[in-house]
Symmetry: C3
């Protein structure tokens, strides 16, 4: 129940972030809904087709479609008010990546995969919706340039598997891992921490 509520909040936040990007690119209504859709379900879809859990999650549960359509409609109608909601959106988004990381790890565990692969699946679930959104909008994915949040997902995943040595209860582990992702993300943004760019050569400054 708790998980489902957070899952829905995460889906809403991701869908709305897609709407904002799509409207900035001046896409039509169809483009906006598709971008909202892939941002919200893209990561889970990629996870499911790589692991072989098909039909993929959003095809098995129609709730996703309803939530995404409702969020998109809301975001389009209230697009001028959304800037006042930026803080709440950021919070939803962050809670969403925490949960999506945990959902991805769970999928890997069920398929009997190696812990590192489970962590990769968690990160993929949380982050690749945004990557696909950026590819469809013809941008270098934001995540590759300045985001700490994939790193937060990875560290949350490591926390899960480190604590598994000491804790038996899977649900506790999931809650703790999710919280680690969320707290790291919040701290990273608050203190403007980001990964260093690995420039090939500092003086090659041409684009």
């Amino acid at each position: 129940m708790f998980f489902q509520v957070v899952d829905i909040l995460g889906t809403i936040a991701f869908a709305i972030s897609g709407v904002l990007v799509a409207m900035n690119k001046r896409m039509d209504a169809f483009g906006v809904i598709i971008i909202a859709f892939v941002t919200a379900v893209g990561g889970g879809t990629l996870r499911d087709i790589m692991v072989g859990v098909e039909p993929v999650a959003w095809m098995r549960d129609i709730t996703y479609v309803y939530v995404i359509v409702a969020s998109t409609t809301f975001a389009v109608v209230f697009r001028n008010q959304l800037k006042h909601l930026r803080r709440s959106l950021f919070l939803f988004d962050t809670i969403g990546i925490g949960l999506y990381t945990v959902l991805g790890i769970e999928t890997g565990l069920v398929a009997g995969l190696h812990p590192l692969i489970c962590i990769a699946l968690g990160t993929m679930t949380a982050c690749f919706g945004g990557v696909i959104r950026d590819i469809l909008s013809n941008e270098i994915p934001v995540i590759f340039r300045k985001e700490i949040y994939a790193t937060a997902c990875i560290l949350g995943g490591f926390t899960y598997f480190l604590l598994r040595e000491f804790l038996e209860d899977k649900n506790y582990l999931f809650v703790i891992a999710g919280i680690v992702v969320i707290v790291l993300r919040l701290l990273a943004v608050k203190f403007k921490i980001s990964l260093p760019s690995l420039y090939k050569n500092e003086n090659e400054n041409k684009d």
Copy 2:
């Protein structure tokens, strides 16, 4: 038989549309054939891997490969004459999306999915070959900016499920849904109907 002929015509039209885009981008022969290929089979491939019907359609039936190679060769050889064929190409293309929509819905029904998911699969089958073509050519997908034809696919899909309450024969339903897609697309182009852009703000005219 009828379906198969139209499927082949659709494949031809989609492959040729890929060739035209790839040649405009000055790709080499390999690039041209790959773009022709993904335009023709990309939508169906995405549908099949999401639903879990694998190997995907074009791997199970070698006819697709022959048709696409032949169409590409034809389009490259007669590239200067193709502009006189634009009207026929547009007609093939439109018939193609009508049929592809129906094929996608059918895949969803066979997998026992929700009507809305079936409609999404139909639209995906008809439209995402073009989306992948545009991504590989480093363009914002045309479909997200000014095309009515995804909307035609969606409305055709709804027609299918609405009429299912009254009509028992699946074949009739498929023919009607396909015709709805085709007619809507033709009318949209004839009367220059398109979806409104959802600009975030009219005066943010930068970019």
Copy 3:
């Protein structure tokens, strides 16, 4: 054993080529490792999800992850020295595409697919890691513009199926096909052979 060593060398070369592209785009550490990863495993992943072999290869064997992380770390640390290694890297890369072509053909044969589809799978395995790398970096894939190496993979694949009429031993066939790919690629680069661009019209010179 021989195959495994070459597979690892190929993975290393592909991962390093990803690192070089990502650093040129000034991505952060996360972007660099992801691009290295998709360059190395992208082609095989696409092959596996289209054929339905899931979880995909790199999820079943953790060696890939270790090799890629080690290669990326190496490439980042020694980024200024890497230019002196260009020749060796090119050789690894070329050996890699030879082996990857063969691995893709084998996957198709195991799934009972048509020879032409097997050749497509071989080419995809060898080349699409680079395609995904370029898409994520927001470039028109290099392979579509001036590369002979996809053509080398295709010709190597045809060699496999032509010789199958005369040779029974699958291992010999694989070695010969791999060598054909490698030799063609080396010759193409040495003699600067490339496929002709298929311009739509020589005097339409606008972009």
